[in-house]
């Protein structure tokens, strides 16, 4: 009997050991995981360095009635942002993140004012340009439910945004010509929950996000006194369906819904409060070259209210070591 039990225990132990062995990957293999197969947070001791670039030219707008049309008059708004990201796996379940944004914004408009009585016409150029460091962000992610190849994961991410970017108009040459601020001018906290399940070669995930801004004081327009303000609360929910085309190319599909309350100025919402909402689709294609990852995508606003209606282009480059 004793021999039978010992044999049984040995067989079970051997099986467990075998199972454990099967799930093991070399460190270099984990670092070369695709967005489909990568762990929910970085493994202990791993670094991720990333650079992202996004660009939008606001040509169209969704009105407050949800109708998408070209923006009125000839206001031209171009916004680009580049991010440097540093992520570190503190443990297999905790990841620390730091994002450093660099913003380039350009707003231009041209008006001809005609005074027939004086036989005069004056052209006024409205040129705002801004570039510089934006608001930096620190984040910590924790795997509430530790995922694996077969088990789903649940990650909570808490981020803090600090107003390091310029919040006021600078280099003022006139009412319509100054350097546009590159920062929001307020501290904010963001909480995100992400549930993800891998069914190789597919993965799907759901996420929810809430951002609370603490407000601050800033100059809204040249030659004006600073006023207190607070950005409205931001909510987002969405889902991802991702799949591998081959061992090193993944296609990601993110469908989401966002809602933002109106901003407040001196404790009051504006006369016409601007709440924003949108349903967006963000497909992207993701290439994995060993430890390098290159992703490109276009965020398309399918429906919205008081939000730019043009696609937003984004490119990301990441390296894990």
């Amino acid at each position: 009997m004793k021999k039978t039990i010992i044999s049984l225990v040995l067989i079970i132990l051997a099986n467990i050991a075998y199972s454990q062995e099967e799930d093991k990957l070399l460190v270099s293999e984990i670092k070369q995981s695709t967005v489909i197969t990568q762990p929910a947070t970085l493994n202990k001791g791993f670094f991720l360095v990333g650079a992202s670039f996004m660009h939008i030219m606001a040509d169209k707008m969704f009105s407050d009635k949800g109708k998408k049309d070209y923006a009125v008059q000839n206001l031209s708004l171009r916004n680009s942002a580049a991010y440097l990201s540093f992520h570190f796996g503190l443990t297999n379940r905790i990841e620390l993140a730091f994002d450093l944004p660099y913003t380039i914004a350009s707003i231009s408009k041209s008006i001809i004012s005609e005074i027939p009585l004086l036989d005069t016409a004056v052209t006024t150029k409205f040129k705002l340009k801004g570039k510089g460091i934006g608001d930096i962000e620190f984040g910590i992610s924790y795997q509430l439910i530790e995922g694996s190849k077969t088990k789903p994961s649940l990650v909570s991410k808490l981020s803090a945004v600090f107003p390091t970017g310029e919040k006021n108009p600078t280099n003022i040459k006139g009412l319509w010509e100054y350097d546009y601020p590159t920062g929001r001018g307020e501290t904010a906290l963001r909480l995100e929950l992400i549930y993800r399940k891998i069914s190789y070669p597919y993965s799907y995930s759901f996420h929810s996000l809430f951002k609370y801004s603490f407000g601050g004081e800033k100059v809204m327009a040249p030659y004006e006194d600073p006023i207190s303000f607070r950005s409205g609360n931001y909510y987002e929910v969405g889902g991802n369906f991702d799949f591998l085309l081959n061992d090193w190319i993944a296609v990601q599909n993110n469908l989401g819904f966002l809602y933002k309350n109106a901003d407040k100025y001196n404790g009051e919402t504006a006369q016409i409060p601007v709440t924003q909402m949108a349903i967006f689709y963000y497909p992207n294609i993701n290439f994995q070259f060993k430890k390098f990852r290159l992703a490109q995508g276009v965020c398309i606003y399918l429906f919205g209210k008081t939000i730019p209606g043009d696609p937003q282009y984004q490119i990301d480059l990441q390296y894990i070591f």
Partner: protein, 365 residues
């Protein structure tokens, strides 16, 4: 042991031969720079692409660059490409191509102070919207029967057919009269335009590819197109009646110009599934006229040259992903778009069950 090795070798050989009889093997082994100028016999290719162009500059008649953002008329062009190619024979390919484009051009805002008040009496916005399908292109590519793979030549005759009406839709002008306590009347002149030429035209073209070394190719193509006959379209005039605009269409005739374009492309096959390319493109349109103003006025000659940098990734043997950016170098009477192009090409052999292994060997080698 010897028998086992012998049997195993036979098994492997059988597997290898079996794989070679699959049509996809042709595409799997073929790198971008090795692809012939025409598709393989029986190969069907679907092409679709999206291009976004930021139009913030324009070249004037003296080839000077004008910043449209400063003038308040910068715009964005969205263009969608659809194409279908089929290899009728190994040296004969049929092609169909049609594209859809959309762009809104907002002009300088005009404020008119009639009564010398602080607020303008009229706030006028001019807006031109361009959208629609371009003319359908249908053509063939005929490859010359040369025995070498180092160099290939092909001819590509074809024609453009305006499948959709080229008549622009009526304008969508609007007027808002001032409410109590306000003085400004707001007028928006919204004109619609089509993107197609609306003309039947013939195109002749020639292309060549040279592969001087294993990983490098130089490709060049030259096209010339001209209209078969003059065309007719309409222009709209409007009149304000109370608070409503009334529109009347006036027909006019026009003749599109002759177009010459060429492209030179230098491609490097970095690895079997990744190809980078640098291209120079030139396009010139001259002659032609239009009676849109009531008088027959010749079209201005326009030119544009672009530098293009991009890559192609062979995701699978059937699916190829292309991306490139266009940077305008110089031009004349032409918009100068900065563009990002993202295209997908899907390839299959739907009507060919099997190819002889000899044919595949010939293709691969």
């Amino acid at each position: 042991m010897r028998n086992f090795i012998f049997l195993f070798s036979l098994f492997l050989t059988a597997l290898t031969l079996n794989a070679q009889t699959n049509n996809d093997s042709i595409l799997a082994y073929e790198r971008k720079i090795d692809r012939p100028l025409t598709l393989h016999k029986g190969q069907l290719q679907f092409n679709t692409a999206y291009k976004i162009s930021i139009i913030s500059k324009e070249y004037d008649n003296n080839r000077n660059s004008i910043n449209l953002a400063d003038e308040g008329i910068a715009s964005v062009l969205h263009k969608y490409y659809f194409g279908l190619n089929y290899g009728i024979l190994d040296f004969l390919q049929a092609s169909i191509e049609f594209n859809y484009a959309k762009r809104g051009e907002r002009h300088e805002n005009q404020l008119v102070f009639v009564h010398l008040n602080d607020e303008p009496d009229f706030d006028i916005t001019y807006f031109d919207e361009y959208k629609g399908f371009e003319d359908l292109y249908s053509g063939v590519i005929i490859k010359l029967p040369l025995k070498t793979k180092k160099i290939e030549f092909a001819l590509s005759p074809g024609f453009y057919i305006p499948l959709f009406s080229n008549n622009p839709e009526a304008p969508e002008n609007s007027i808002s009269f001032p409410l109590d306590g306000q003085t400004t009347t707001t007028i928006i002149y919204h004109n619609n335009h089509k993107t197609g030429n609306g003309s039947k035209a013939i195109k002749v073209g020639a292309s060549a590819i040279v592969r001087p070394v294993n990983d490098l190719s130089i490709y060049a193509k030259l096209n010339y197109s001209w209209p078969i006959s003059e065309s007719e379209s309409i222009r709209w005039v409007n009149q304000l009646n109370g608070s409503d605009f009334e529109y009347n269409d006036i027909p006019y005739k026009y003749l599109i110009g002759n177009t010459l374009d060429y492209k030179v492309n230098l491609a490097y096959q970095a690895i079997p599934w990744f190809n980078v390319a640098l291209s120079y493109l030139f396009k010139k349109t001259s002659s032609g006229w239009s009676e849109i103003t009531g008088l027959r006025i010749g079209n201005l000659e326009n030119r544009l040259s672009l530098l293009s940098i991009g890559y192609e990734i062979k995701a699978t043997s059937r699916l190829w992903i292309t991306e490139f950016i266009d940077i305008p170098l110089s031009g004349k009477n032409q918009l100068a778009p900065y563009s990002i192009y993202l295209g997908i090409s899907y390839n299959l052999f739907p009507f060919v069950k099997k190819l002889k292994s000899q044919a595949i060997d010939n293709t691969i080698n």
